[in-house]
């Protein structure tokens, strides 16, 4: 198990390094990104000398590989460079934004996981029952509505119709839970159907296995059959799915944060790329990749842990 985790960690580090190289080549060399970096940074109205000086200062005249290591070194030691758009160190902006998104994500998951697991299990427990069909149909419908559409719909209902909730979530006067409700609702609606359906399928499959029959014919109370014998096996698949949802959430927030003007990571990413803010873009991309690889690793380890057949082989 230890070796497995170490291997996974090593693999994760390797992935990050490779991604960083690709990022570097894409953004910091002229291979794909046409145009001079200095011009991009300093704007078109500076003299060639000034540009040259800037390049010298920032090490752009060094050979590419050296620059890469320098850049990587900065990155690893926590110096993420400075943002053009926000005129300050990336560190100052990024973490705050990430925290905001984490809060948003936390609430989405805190609601989505129990709701979708419970609904999925209830549906899968008695396949084909009325409850099962209701849950299945609902989850298909909610998942097929795109986020921007549900943003509009929910805003129309709660903001303009019922006038219950604020239409933007800028949190201008400090944290306000009310402003969080709509973004959470939109993300939850989009997300829960998928997890619920996965859980349902997994549960329904487990319920037809012979070991469930054994458990029933042992005379165990139905509750124990479900809780002890079915759940654990049924939750292995959804666990992985949920971990991968974190990943998805990171991209899913872009639309929602933009729509509700929520100051989170998704909005930041969008801004960085619209403004060609290279340092910020790099930092955001690395964070996103880190989360992706990290959740994948936890999913793998968790899967192994939940599944004794793999754990002890």
């Amino acid at each position: 198990m230890l070796i497995f985790i170490l291997k996974r960690l090593g693999f994760m580090a390797l992935t990050m390094v490779i991604v960083s190289m690709v990022l570097f080549i894409l953004l910091e060399t002229n291979l794909f990104y046409k145009g001079d970096v200095a011009t991009r940074v300093l704007g078109p109205y500076v003299s060639a000398e000034q540009r040259e000086m800037w390049r010298e200062q920032h090490g752009y005249n060094e050979p590419t590989y050296k620059r890469y290591f320098l850049w990587l070194g900065h990155f690893v030691t926590g110096d993420l460079g400075s943002s053009l758009r926000f005129k300050g160190p990336v560190n100052d902006i990024l973490w705050g934004r990430l925290w905001n998104t984490a809060i948003l994500g936390f609430w989405v998951f805190a609601i989505m996981i129990p709701v979708s697991l419970i609904l999925g299990i209830l549906a899968g427990m008695r396949e084909g029952s009325k409850l099962d069909r209701t849950i299945s149909v609902t989850s298909i419908i909610t998942t097929s509505v795109p986020e921007f559409a549900s943003c509009v719909i929910f805003a129309a209902i709660f903001v303009f119709g019922l006038k219950l909730l604020p239409g933007t979530s800028g949190m201008a006067d400090g944290f306000d839970f009310k402003q969080l409700i709509l973004p959470v609702l939109v993300l939850f609606t989009y997300d829960f159907g998928y997890v619920a359906r996965m859980t349902r399928a997994s549960m329904a499959e487990v319920m037809t296995t012979q070991y469930i029959r054994t458990a029933v014919l042992k005379g165990l109370p139905y509750k124990r059959v479900i809780m002890r014998h079915a759940l654990r096996n049924a939750l292995i698949a959804p666990f992985t799915v949920i971990m991968l949802q974190i990943n998805w959430l990171l991209s899913g927030v872009i639309v929602v944060e933009f729509f509700f003007a929520y100051k989170g990571f998704g909005a930041l990413l969008l801004e960085a790329s619209l403004n060609q803010d290279i340092a910020l873009l790099e930092a955001c991309a690395m964070v996103a990749v880190f989360v992706a690889v990290g959740t994948q690793m936890i999913a793998d380890i968790g899967y192994t842990y939940l599944n004794p057949r793999i754990r002890f082989s």
Binding site: L2, G128, R228, R232, N307, F312
Partner: protein, 711 residues
């Protein structure tokens, strides 16, 4: 609860069970009645789909979402199970009635420890505290003879072997000492020697606790060894029931009689007394005929009588019958003594020159071990000796059987012959050429065509999207037997005749065929290229008794006609005794004994052969066997013992020599080799395992006035 001897534990009356599908109602079990007394073991025997499991599930009141009990009653200790509430049923299940399943691995929860799964039974039913439940479980595990019960308690199901898993399932069923035990093919998934151990265990434990049993099996031999009374089922109905002795000695129903003609009993012989398959096929539940279900396949069918109305059970009297009933109108009129009990007599086959010569063939696999321990020890590559020093010949027209239990290397051997693997060393000469190192891709079409294979599960090897005719035609074309389209077609049709399939099967696809029919197509395909040798890897073990008999006979007939050499790979010694000329007995990749069939079946025996012979159930009450039950499980091929491979289970083990030294190969006769440390003189003193009475000593012959006319 007061059980008296005369009050049945279970009483089923006029039970009708149905499944409801899109195609309508399927009456799976009809008019089923049964009484089980305390301590009694009832056998339910019949071919696949006849409704055995359905009966068991109805007793458990667990028919699935589309099954239902249509009418009748199932009384357990006087209370009707059909009328019980869920809660009442729950209290009975696992406490008073428990069940043992066919596939132990699937029946155990993969993510709970064996201990948890065992302990919850007494905790649920008797509300005892955990430590007490733990002790009970450990005690029960040692009762079912599992070594190191504490370790097993902490293990997950996949961490113990198949035989051990079945012991765990048995322990689980017995934990609360039920009065009734339902066993649905409890040993079908196990090796023969392991099966013998489990069968004995179940019998011992039931005797100890006075448990009644319903034992479901398709194997008449096993039923004979385990049961007091037997019910023969055919197409949803019981067609005959009686005590073991009565029914096995005087079977009255033509179907029961037919079944005995299908199984290779020790009295059967491929030339003098061949098997006699039952003609036709089992009807589907919704296509049952009017009157007697067996009518269309019965040799004694009488129009107007047998197909008139449903036939009731009648009691059999006379000729020593006890508690014997049969569902046949004509049972009194039929005189089986006048019937030839077997198929047409055939002259023995002549064997020709050597076709296959195997010298010291070895096949090792490399296994890469990536565990920490292996990394530290620097032993990351392990050798698995799947075949070690294989030595034997086969002649033209001869049938050589390779016998052994799982993991003994039978299939590896077949793969090397077919060129799917190349040998590690040694020589495999087929028609003069050494093919041991030639992979199938490098073999020319003639070589491939002359060496063909019939597989265990025909469905896996037939292409589902091509018609039968197409698949056989391709082979003919590929091996250059014919090239003209019309001629190919002609030949395919002939082959269909040979394997006794109707010619219009030419256009059918595999999914439209039954298991036995698919296997016939497999055989037709194997013989399409006029091979000089055919390897058949367990070709009938997945088939029902009557279908298996037909396929076996077919294989023999074609072989006879083409003078093909047949390598028959099997774990079933009765089939092997019936059809093989010579036998190779393997254990953990090595040959333990080889010789002619006669030599293998009579002393001197190799101790493993002796145990194998004793383990095979024989469906003949007058055949006596010496009981040898092997302790323990088959060792893993990854970790074979250093000396004799059989040393861990050998009842005749001599001592340290067996552990440390490879046994010498001793020649008991020309061509009869035994690999054992015990001197031949000692082995010769051992008496025969199976004793078959002479025909004139037989009860049914002595019992009837006229002597049976068996040729």
């Amino acid at each position: 609860m007061a059980d008296s001897r005369d009050e049945p534990v279970l009483e089923i009356k006029d039970l009708n069970l149905s499944y409801y599908t899109r195609a309508g109602e399927i009456p799976a079990v009809i008019d089923f009645s049964l009484e089980v007394m305390k301590g009694e073991t009832i056998g339910l025997v019949g071919e696949s789909g006849c409704g055995k499991s359905t009966v068991a599930m109805a007793i458990m009141q667990y028919m699935g979402s589309n099954g239902g009990i249509k009418s009748g009653s199932i009384k357990f200790k006087g209370r009707d199970l059909n009328k019980m509430s869920d809660e009442e049923l729950r209290r009975l299940r696992g406490a008073e009635i428990s069940m043992i399943y066919q596939e132990p691995f699937a029946a155990l929860n993969p993510s709970l420890t064996i201990g948890t799964q065992l302990m919850e039974v007494p905790i649920t039913h008797e509300h005892i505290p955990e430590p007490a439940a733990y002790d009970r479980a450990v005690q029960m595990l040692s009762d079912v003879k599992l070594p190191d019960p504490e370790r097993v308690m902490a293990a997950y199901p996949h961490q113990v072997s198949g035989g051990q898993q079945q012991r765990v399932v048995i322990a689980m069923a017995l934990l609360s000492q039920p009065s009734l035990l339902l066993l649905d093919e409890p040993t079908t998934a196990l090796d023969v020697t392991v099966e013998a151990g489990i069968v004995k265990l179940i019998a011992d434990i039931s005797r100890k606790y006075g448990t009644s049993q319903i034992y479901i099996s398709h194997n008449l031999g096993l039923i004979l060894e385990t049961c007091d009374r037997v019910f023969v089922m055919y197409s949803g109905e019981v067609v005959e029931e009686g005590t073991i002795n009565s029914l096995f000695t005087w079977p009255k129903h033509p179907y029961t009689h037919g079944l005995f003609g299908c199984i290779p009993l020790p009295t059967a012989d491929k030339n003098a007394a061949p098997l006699k398959p039952i003609r036709g096929q089992l009807p589907l539940p919704h296509e049952r005929p009017r009157g007697c279900n067996f009518g269309p396949r019965c040799d004694f069918f009488e129009g107007g009588r047998c197909d008139d109305k449903n036939i009731a059970m009648t009691s059999v009297t006379g000729s020593g019958a006890t508690d014997h009933r049969v569902r046949c109108l004509r049972w009194q009129e039929i005189d089986y003594g006048k019937q030839v009990a077997h198929g047409e007599v055939k002259p023995p086959m002549e064997v020709g020159e050597k076709v296959l010569e195997i010298n010291n063939m070895q096949k090792y696999y490399e296994i890469h071990d990536r565990s920490i321990a292996a990394l530290i020890a620097g032993k990351t590559v392990k050798l698995v000796k799947a075949n070690e020093a294989i030595d034997f010949d086969a002649r033209r027209g001869e049938t050589v059987a390779i016998v052994g239990e799982s993991g003994c290397g039978k299939s590896t051997f077949a793969k090397v012959l077919m060129g799917l693997e190349t040998a590690t060393s040694g020589v495999v000469r087929h028609e003069g050429n050494d093919i041991s190192q030639i992979a199938v891709r490098q073999r020319d079409t003639k070589q491939i065509g002359s060496l063909q294979m019939v597989f265990q599960s025909p469905s896996d090897t037939l292409n589902p999207s091509h018609t039968v005719g197409n698949q056989i035609g391709r082979v003919i074309k590929k091996f250059g037997v014919e090239s003209d389209k019309a001629k190919i077609r002609e030949r395919v049709l002939k082959l269909l005749d040979v394997v006794k399939l109707p010619r219009d099967f030419y256009f059918r696809r595999p999914r439209q065929l039954s298991g036995g029919q698919k296997q016939r197509v497999g055989i037709a395909r194997a013989f399409a290229g006029n091979p000089s040798m055919v390897i058949a890897d367990e070709p009938v073990s997945a088939l029902d008794v009557s279908v298996a008999a037909a396929v076996t006979e077919l294989l023999m007939e074609i072989q006879r006609e083409h003078k093909t050499t047949l390598l028959f790979i099997s774990h079933d010694l009765s089939v092997v005794r019936y059809l093989a000329d010579s036998i190779v007995v393997m254990y953990l990749g090595q040959i333990m004994e080889r010789g002619s069939t006669e030599e293998i079946f009579s002393p001197p025996y190799h101790p493993y052969t002796e145990a194998l012979l004793s383990a095979v159930p024989i469906a003949d009450p007058e055949v006596t066997k010496r009981e040898i039950v092997l302790e323990g499980n088959l060792p893993s091929v990854m970790n074979p013992p250093a000396g004799c491979p059989f040393v861990t289970r050998c009842p005749r083990k001599l001592g340290k020599v067996c552990e440390d030294e490879r046994p010498p190969v001793q020649m008991a006769a020309d061509g009869h080799a035994i690999a054992c440390h015990i001197p031949l003189e000692e082995l010769r003193k051992i008496e025969s395992v199976i004793k078959v009475p002479q025909l004139d000593e037989r009860i049914h012959v002595k019992g009837t006035k006229e002597t049976a006319t068996v040729d």
